[in-house]
C-alpha cells in the first residue's frame, strides 16, 4: 500500500512539471505585463525598459521558468542598467516553497491566493453540499418512481437547468431578488460581495450574501449529479442482488436505503472525490456577477494583468490537488470495496 502511494506520487512529478512548463510558456508568450502597468496611459518607454530589467522579464522564457522553479538566489543580476550583473537574486523558487511575488502588488503570490481561498471554499463547498442534498433527493425519488409524472417532471427541469447559461440564472436572480424586490419594498437580498462592510463579517451577513450565488451554482449543477444518481440507483435496483433481497421479503424502505443506496453511493463518492479539487478554482462567472471575492475572480483580474506568479500559483495548487484527490479517491475505493486491492 505504502509503495503504491509512493509510486503514484512519483509518477505525478513529470505530470506537474509538464503542466507548469506549458502554462508558464503560454502565459509568458501571451503579452507584456508591463504594457498594462501604466493604468490609463501606456507605460513610458524608459520605465518599461527599467522594469523589465528589474523584474527579470528580459530573460529568455526557459530561464525565467527555471528561476520560477528553483529560484534565482544563486545568480547575479543587473538592476541599475550599467550592463554589469551586481545584485544576487532574491527568489527561492517553487520547489523551495516560494511561489514568487506578484508583479503588481509585490506581495507573495501564495499570500494573495490564500487571502481568497477561504471565501471560495465557503461558496463552493456550501454549493456542493446543497447541490448534493438536492441531487440525492431528486435522483433517488426519480429512480424509485421511474417513469412517474414526478420523474418526468424532475428530468425535464433538470435538463432545462442544465442547459441554461449561468449568467442568465445569475442576472435573473440578481434582477428579481436584489433590484426588483427592493423596488417593490419587499425584503431584498444584497447585490453582491461577501458581507456588508458596515455590518462586518457576521454569520447573518455571510448567509445573506451567499444565497444568490449559491442558488445560481446549485441550479446549474444539480442536474448533472441527480441524473447520475438516478441512473446508478436504477442499475442497482434492477440488479439480482436487490431482487434477492426483495424475494427474502425485506421491507421496501430497508431495501432502498440499506442496500440499494449504499451500492449506488460508491460511484457517486468517486465522482465527488474527483470533482472536489476543482472547487479551488472557484466559479469564474458566478463570482464575477456577484462580486464574490474568491479565487475565480482573482484569476480573471490577474489574467487581465498577466500577473504570472499568481496565475501559476493558483493553477499549480489546483493541479496538485487534483492529483492528490485522484489518489485519495482510489484509496477510498479499496476501503469501500474490499474486492479491490492495490499493491
Amino acid at each position: 500500500m505504502g509503495r503504491y502511494i509512493i509510486r503514484r506520487l512519483l509518477q505525478a512529478i513529470p505530470l506537474v512539471l509538464l503542466v507548469s512548463l506549458t502554462i508558464f510558456v503560454l502565459l509568458q508568450a501571451t503579452g507584456d505585463p508591463l504594457a498594462t502597468m501604466g493604468g490609463r496611459s501606456p507605460t513610458r518607454p524608459e520605465d518599461k525598459a527599467r522594469l523589465r530589467r528589474q523584474l527579470g522579464l528580459d530573460k529568455p522564457i526557459l530561464e525565467q521558468y527555471l528561476y520560477w522553479l528553483i529560484g534565482n538566489d544563486w545568480a547575479k543580476f543587473d538592476l541599475d542598467g550599467d550592463g554589469i550583473a551586481e545584485s544576487p537574486g532574491i527568489r527561492y523558487g517553487v520547489l523551495r516553497g516560494d511561489f514568487g511575488t506578484s508583479i503588481v502588488t509585490k506581495q507573495p503570490a501564495m499570500k494573495i491566493i490564500m487571502d481568497r481561498l477561504p471565501n471560495t471554499l465557503l461558496l463552493m463547498v456550501t454549493s456542493e453540499i446543497i447541490t448534493l442534498v438536492i441531487a440525492l433527493v431528486i435522483g433517488v425519488v426519480s429512480a424509485v418512481r421511474q417513469y412517474s409524472f414526478l420523474d418526468n417532471a424532475l428530468s425535464g427541469f433538470s435538463f432545462v437547468a442544465f442547459s441554461m447559461p449561468i449568467f442568465l440564472v445569475g442576472f435573473g436572480l440578481l434582477y428579481i431578488f436584489a433590484v426588483k424586490f427592493r423596488e417593490w419594498g419587499l425584503p431584498s437580498l444584497p447585490t453582491g460581495g461577501i458581507f456588508d462592510p458596515k455590518e462586518g463579517r457576521t454569520l447573518n451577513q455571510l448567509v445573506l450574501h451567499m444565497i444568490l450565488p449559491v442558488a445560481t451554482i446549485t441550479i446549474i449543477s444539480v442536474a448533472g449529479y441527480s441524473r447520475y444518481i438516478r441512473s446508478n440507483m436504477l442499475e442497482v435496483i434492477n440488479s439480482d442482488y436487490i431482487r434477492t433481497a426483495r424475494a427474502k421479503g425485506l421491507s421496501e424502505r430497508s431495501i432502498l436505503y440499506r442496500h440499494a443506496f449504499k451500492n449506488a453511493a460508491l460511484p457517486l463518492a468517486t465522482l465527488i472525490g474527483l470533482d472536489l479539487p476543482f472547487l479551488l478554482g472557484g466559479a469564474v462567472v458566478t463570482e464575477r456577477i456577484f462580486a464574490w471575492p474568491g479565487t475565480g475572480r482573482l484569476f480573471l483580474d490577474h489574467l487581465e494583468l498577466l500577473d504570472y506568479s499568481v496565475l501559476m500559483g493558483l493553477l499549480m495548487l489546483i493541479t496538485v490537488a487534483v492529483i492528490v484527490f485522484q489518489l485519495l479517491t482510489d484509496l477510498m475505493y479499496t476501503w469501500l470495496d474490499p474486492r479491490i486491492r492495490y499493491s
Binding site: 509585490k106 447585490t191 458596515k198 448567509v207
Partner: protein, 543 residues
C-alpha cells in the same frame, strides 16, 4: 424523514436571518463602489487610477489640485511661483516651504528629509517603481537646506512642475521606512505599502479585506481638522458595470465613479446626482498621415477634412451618450489651453462629397466605392475592444458607405502595444484609429504629435502613432515645455491647437470626462479630475 426535518430547519433559519432587522446606525458612513481593487497603496508602485484616489485620503501631497483645477496648499505654506521666489527667474529651481506644524499620524514631524527620502526611493535601483517620470530625465537634484525647505533643481526649465513631482508621489515617512530599506534593500515588499501607516492624510486605513472592501477612518494628528464622516468604505464590485450600478441603485453604495453615459442616465432617473469631471481625456480619431503605412488618400488634408465633415458626431453623442458629453473642438477641450472658441468641423456630407470629388476620389468604376488611379477608397478603422467604440465603428461604416467610402473595422486586445511589440496602432495598420487620449493632465504637455516620437525599428517605443510631423508644431511643443510663464505657455498651446485643427490629424468624437454618481444623502462631494477625493475631509451625510 430526518432529512426533511433538517431541510425545514435550515429553511427556517435562513428566513429568520433574512428577516432579522438591521441595527440602527448612528455612525456617519459613506460607501464608494469601486470596480477595481487597489493592487497597492504606495504611490511609487501605483498604476491604477482607483488606487491613486484612495491615496489622496491617506497621504497628502504638498498641494491638491481642486475641482477647478487650481492648486490648494496642504503641506506647504504657499504655492511656489515666480512672484514669491518659489520658482527661480530662469525656471530651473523650485523651492517649497513646508508648514512647521505638519505631522505624520504617529506624531513625528513631517520634514524636508522625508521629501529627499521619497526622491531617493524613486531612484533606488532595487525599487521596482512604476514610473520615474520626471525624476530621471528632468530633475537634477532634490535637497533639504533646512527642515522646512525642499529645493528641486531641474536640468532645464520644466513647465509641468506644478502637477507632476510630489503631487504624484507624496512624501513618505522616512523614520518608519528607512529601517526597512536598510534591512531588505528595497521598499517593494514593505507592509507599509498596503497600510500607509503612518500617513499624512485626513483618514487612515481601517480594514482591508482582499477582494471585498477597504475601510478608511479619521486619522490622528492631521493638521487640517477632523473629517465629518466616521468611516468611508470602498466596496469592490465586478467591473462589468452591472453590479456597480445595481449597488448604487439599491443604496448599497453612495458614490460610483467612472460610469458610462447611458448608465448615468439610468441612475439619474433613480434620483442619483451625476457629476461630469474633466479628466483631460477626449475620445477621438487619430488619422494616419504616415506615407509609409497610410492609405494614399489619407495624405491629402482635404480628404481628412472630408472624413471629419462626413461623420455625424453630434448624432453619436446625442444618441449613444444621451447628450451627456459634448463633441470636443480641441485636444485640450475645456481647459485654458484650447484655442479660443474651439469648435469641431460641422457635419456636412454635401461639403464632404465635394471635397472628395475635388480631390479626385470619384466612383469611376461604378462599384459604389470611390477610387482614384485604380486605388479604391477603402479605409481601415481600428479600435480596442471597448463596446462603445464598436458601436461607433458600425455607425461610421454604414454612414461612410453612403458617401462612397468603404470602411473595414477591426478591434484588438493588444491595441495599445508599442511598435516594438507589433501593436496595430503603433505600427500604422490603420487609417482611422479611435481611442481616448489625454495630455499630461492637468498639465497640457503632450508627446503624441512630436516628430521624434514617430515609432520605427530604431524607436520601437515611440508614441506618435499617426506619424504626424509638422516643424512648426514640433518646435512649439519643445518651446512650451520650457516656458514657465503660464500666460505665454497658454498662447503657445493655442497656436499648436490651431495647427492641429487645420491639419485634421486628430478629430474629437466626445469629451471623455469622468462621470460620477452620488446618492442625495452625500453632501459636499466635489470631485476633481486630478485628485478626485481632495475634499473627502468635508464630505458629509444628511441624516
Amino acid at each position: 424523514m430526518k432529512r426533511r426535518l433538517l431541510f425545514v430547519l435550515t429553511l427556517g433559519l435562513m428566513l429568520t436571518l433574512v428577516a432579522a432587522p438591521t441595527l440602527a446606525q448612528d455612525k456617519k458612513v459613506v460607501t464608494v463602489s469601486y470596480t477595481q481593487e487597489p493592487l497597492t497603496l504606495n504611490p511609487l508602485y501605483i498604476t491604477q487610477w482607483f488606487a491613486a484616489n484612495v491615496v489622496d485620503m491617506l497621504l497628502t501631497p504638498p498641494w491638491f489640485i481642486d475641482d477647478n483645477l487650481q492648486p490648494v496648499a496642504v503641506q506647504v505654506t504657499e504655492i511656489p511661483s515666480t512672484e514669491n521666489g518659489g520658482i527661480s527667474a530662469d525656471g530651473t529651481v523650485m523651492t517649497m516651504k513646508l508648514r512647521d506644524d505638519i505631522k505624520w499620524s504617529d506624531g513625528e514631524p513631517i520634514t524636508s528629509a522625508d521629501y529627499v527620502f521619497t526622491y531617493d526611493m524613486l531612484m533606488l535601483d532595487k525599487n521596482t517603481v512604476s514610473s520615474r517620470f520626471p525624476w530621471d530625465t528632468k530633475v537634477k537634484s532634490v535637497t533639504a537646506p533646512d527642515a522646512t525647505t525642499v529645493v528641486v533643481t531641474f536640468n532645464e526649465p520644466f513647465a509641468p512642475w506644478l502637477t507632476t513631482l510630489f503631487t504624484a508621489s507624496p512624501a513618505m515617512p522616512k523614520h518608519a521606512l528607512q529601517p526597512i530599506v536598510d534591512k531588505d534593500g528595497t521598499l517593494d515588499t514593505a507592509d507599509w505599502n498596503r497600510t500607509l501607516d503612518p500617513g499624512s492624510g485626513a483618514f487612515k486605513l481601517g480594514q482591508w479585506e482582499s477582494g471585498s472592501f477597504l475601510s478608511l477612518v479619521p486619522a490622528d494628528n492631521f493638521w487640517g481638522g477632523k473629517p465629518k464622516l466616521d468611516e468611508v468604505f470602498f466596496r469592490v464590485v465586478a467591473d462589468d458595470g452591472t453590479s456597480q450600478n445595481a449597488a448604487l441603485e439599491t443604496g448599497d453604495a453612495d458614490i460610483g465613479p467612472f460610469l458610462t453615459a447611458a448608465d448615468a442616465d439610468a441612475l439619474e432617473k433613480q434620483g442619483l446626482v451625476t457629476t461630469v469631471t474633466p479628466s483631460g481625456y477626449n475620445e477621438g480619431w487619430f488619422l494616419n498621415v504616415n506615407p509609409e503605412t497610410a492609405h494614399p488618400a489619407m495624405l491629402d488634408v482635404n480628404v481628412r477634412k472630408a472624413l471629419a465633415m462626413a461623420f455625424n458626431r453630434q448624432k453619436i453623442v446625442d444618441d449613444l451618450l444621451l447628450g451627456k458629453l459634448p463633441v470636443p473642438g480641441s485636444y485640450w477641450e475645456a481647459t485654458p489651453y484650447a484655442r479660443p472658441d474651439a469648435k469641431p468641423y460641422d457635419y456636412d456630407p454635401e461639403a464632404a462629397k465635394k471635397l472628395l470629388d475635388d480631390a479626385g476620389w470619384v466612383d469611376s468604376n461604378g462599384d459604389g466605392t470611390r477610387d482614384k488611379d485604380g486605388k479604391e477608397l477603402e479605409l481601415r478603422f481600428i479600435a480596442s475592444q471597448r463596446q462603445i467604440r464598436k458601436d461607433v465603428q458600425a455607425v461610421v461604416q454604414q454612414s461612410f458607405a453612403e458617401l462612397g467610402i468603404k470602411v473595414e473595422t477591426s478591434n484588438y486586445d493588444n491595441f495599445f502595444d508599442t511598435f516594438g511589440e507589433g501593436g496595430p496602432a503603433a505600427t500604422g495598420a490603420f487609417d482611422i484609429a479611435e481611442w481616448s487620449q489625454n495630455p499630461d493632465f492637468p498639465d497640457p504637455n503632450s508627446n503624441v504629435f512630436l516628430c521624434s516620437e514617430i515609432p520605427s525599428a530604431d524607436n520601437p517605443e515611440g508614441s506618435n502613432w499617426t506619424g504626424y510631423c509638422n516643424e512648426k508644431v514640433d518646435s512649439l511643443l519643445q518651446e512650451q515645455l520650457k516656458t514657465t510663464d503660464t500666460a505665454k505657455r497658454t498662447e503657445l498651446f493655442h497656436e499648436i491647437d490651431q495647427q492641429l485643427f487645420d491639419d485634421v490629424v486628430w478629430v474629437g468624437v466626445w469629451y471623455d470626462a469622468d462621470i460620477w454618481a452620488t446618492t442625495k444623502r452625500v453632501e459636499n462631494a466635489r470631485y476633481s479630475g486630478a485628485d478626485p477625493f481632495w475634499n473627502a475631509i468635508n464630505w458629509d451625510v444628511t441624516s
